[in-house]
Symmetry: D2
Subunit: 284 residues, 4 copies
């Protein structure tokens, strides 16, 4: 089914839902999902509306302009209009660990993820054969302290060439520069292998082991310039016990990481995520 999805942020005031739903109804829009949220502390209004496009009497190309004229301007809305076609293009960055990559490729292969994956980029060659077995182009771009900015330039070039909409860091062990991040605001999804904000930084499983926690976790978030501090999209946890070694924690954690990352990708693809400050509203 062809769908349109509208994501709205604006100052809170009365009548917004009435106006948005009137707009959709006036063009024979069949609403599929409608959700709203008010952040009372910040007086911010958030809304997501999805409707069938085929029976909508306004041309796809004119919707955004007409909505701004009839509704958006009046409420000072910051809105984005999405369609579920053509499929968005997602780039995957990996290093050597395969569990998240495999999980994404398997979902893509089975048709569960409605996304195009034009390329996978890695700073190592370890996963090349896996990626190519799925008929996805693999680009090996080594990253060292010395060549980092040249490597990012290459990466950005590939992003542009393939018109990539968003980037998934599937346990990509490099820190991206602020410049790279600014090309994809709230469009780079990272999986961090701890239950943030616990154990920020490197080697969280080691830190969790040292601290003797009884539960570990993983966190998918949008990447911002501040490390591990971007808006959290999804988190999940798993129970561990005293007899679990660090390698056990890594293995238990990997099962959590791949599920969390795939959920975050799904929410992002379904346009269910509205990010503001260091937070997200997620209408699932």
């Amino acid at each position: 089914m062809n769908k349109a999805i509208l994501l709205i942020q604006c100052p809170d005031q009365k009548g917004i839902v009435a106006e948005v739903s009137r707009f959709l109804y006036s063009y024979q829009g069949n609403i599929l999902e409608i959700d709203q949220h008010v952040d009372k502390g910040l007086s911010l209004f958030f809304m997501r509306a999805a409707w069938e496009l085929d029976s909508f009497s306004l041309e796809k190309e004119k919707i955004a302009q007409q909505f701004e004229k009839e509704v958006g301007a009046k409420f000072k809305m910051d809105f984005k209009l999405h369609f579920n076609f053509p499929k968005p293009k997602m780039a995957i960055f990996v290093s050597k660990l395969s569990h998240c990559l495999f999980d994404i490729l398997a979902r893509h292969h089975s048709g569960q993820l409605e996304v195009d994956i034009p390329l996978v980029i890695s700073n190592h060659k370890d996963l090349q054969s896996v990626v190519e077995a799925f008929n996805i182009p693999f680009h090996h771009i080594p990253v060292t302290k010395e060549n980092k900015s040249a490597s990012e330039a290459k990466q950005l070039e590939l992003m542009q060439e393939h018109q990539v909409d968003f980037v998934v860091l599937a346990r990509y062990m490099q820190i991206l520069s602020g410049d790279f991040i600014n090309h994809f605001p709230n469009r780079i999804i990272n999986i961090h292998h701890s239950f943030l904000p616990a154990f920020v930084g490197a080697k969280p499983y080691h830190a969790a082991y040292e601290r003797g926690v009884k539960i570990i976790g993983a966190t998918a978030h949008y990447v911002t310039e501040e490390l591990d501090a971007g808006p959290i999209i999804e988190q999940e946890v798993a129970r561990v016990r005293h007899h679990n070694t660090i390698p056990d924690l890594v293995q238990i954690g990997q099962d959590v990481e791949k599920v969390v990352l795939s959920k975050a990708i799904q929410y992002h693809l379904d346009r269910k995520v509205l990010a503001f400050r260091n937070k997200t509203v997620i209408f699932y």
Copy 2:
């Protein structure tokens, strides 16, 4: 804050959200929460809207009639209008087990549950002192095969005398008659000590032990004439292991039961539950 809450069920068609939100806006309603759901298979539309009453320009007493006239009739709506005041009246039925009762009384005592509890009814005297320590009247109504219908008559009389809105069976070990149930359609909440539909009927923990399951659970549901088959409001589970005995299962399960029942009561009180057939829509 004084709130009005509207719960709507009707055949699905275009324009419902637009009309409801226009109605609320036309009387200066400040929407607090608005949620909708469409059951595509049954072509049924469900909606919940909550708004501030103080600034609403229509008198409390006229809202239902005006809404029916302007909106309800047009869409053939089955709707209910609730206010968060005065507090609803909840009766609790218990037998001998105290864990669910205590949990409810503790929440009530701390002000978490916005409900009046005019009475507790039990077929045993065991919990009388506990209930009275919380300054709640306790009625001992023994139930035997012989006196069952006389006992229910007494219970119903007390329900009417205290203008009880809904009933909570906090591990009340008696089966209510169809007649009693029909006085409170979708207004009797029961906690069943298994993860329904597994282990319906008596002694579910024994059955779970015999089957060797690795997870047990509890289910809060509205009581209907068919035993353990009413609309499920909430479920939760807990992990068990081979070394757990039946008494262990009972104890682990009791922690699940009390949390599930309290959640169900909270959803019911917040008017977040719409029941239809043997199912619920819950806008939490």
Copy 3:
């Protein structure tokens, strides 16, 4: 590290732990893990002991015989001795759904699963290319009502040819005959896509949707002749809501299925599972 693992079942009596640990110590065994469980109701004793083999002063080939002589006979033990080498051989049976298969192959590829996979058998060709991309032989054996016993004969022949230790049914949609099952007692692991014993039989996600449950699940169990009634190895659940459609339930459930099946395989490989009647003792 080379390990020996002893799994014991016997009538309960005093002194068993003392005798087993004395036996191991007398040959300089360094115990890695030791666990015991008593089923009081059945007066059955269960034990698992794992120790380092390299420093053990009894030859690998003589351990079983010597243990029987010194300890086993005295306590009427039913015991099995395993080593963690050579790797056991696991056959995978699939139909068309890929999520469990992919998950297993990904774990195998990353070295997480210490097992050999000599072959994958399917009654359909859909997953052939996937399997072969992982360099694992794929056998297409169609199954119809008419050729069922001939097909099983072929399957059994392949099992013998490849000296398969145990079989994993990774959403294999066929029911195996009692004859086939008897070749692999407690050595066929099936994943059932419901939280058993709820929703036995076909189409459990449809049944869960109809019943309006708030939690769905998956169950890994050893296959016995009685359908979906074998000893449960592992279960896990996931929360669902009123807006989730049957396809949503299928997708949410698949994430549970693959995690549960992989855990069950891991427990089986680690020789942590003792099955008796329709139950399991799992020393994790």
Copy 4:
């Protein structure tokens, strides 16, 4: 059933299990539970053994001495011998919040917690009537900056007078002095209202809200001089969403807190916890 429980820590070496189980068997001990754990990194051995006392041929009073002579000295064991009678004495410290206190009192009232509660101490009077309704003495000891050490002196005096074995801080909002803590090493259980080590210190629900986490938690730990850094006994979590306010988080969190604290108390009572450094081994 009268039980003896032995908790052992010592440097790891071969033969410990054999020697301990031989000792128990030599006096006709019927082992109920036996668990061991080796921390490979620290070369530390941990063990817990529970056995029936009635049929044990060594007098209760002589067990510790005889064990030290036959086994403990040889392996340089740090061991503790416990019996499940008489019931241990537990003091509860609270401030104004009632949820954890109620949960403990309800479990005690129903007979689930095999412990004596000789007194509850609070720096406020709010919960006095509740406590006294359960027939437990309540002591109001106000705490200010000025009188803190005098107050602790009074508290310690009461601890001694009532021969208190261990202390539970059921949301007691005061920080205990090092001196007080040293009177009860690994015998003061605190519930911290966050998923440690995330959000240490005050107002963790506010901090969790600000950070936009999707999961909150609670942590029961032994109190040490370093704030919120003692050995973790148990943790649990609950999911939250963008629409949850800080009061919602508090309420959701309270349900987690009381379950976690009660589990920790139960583990402690069952002598299943071995603490070392900032960690615990828990044989549940």
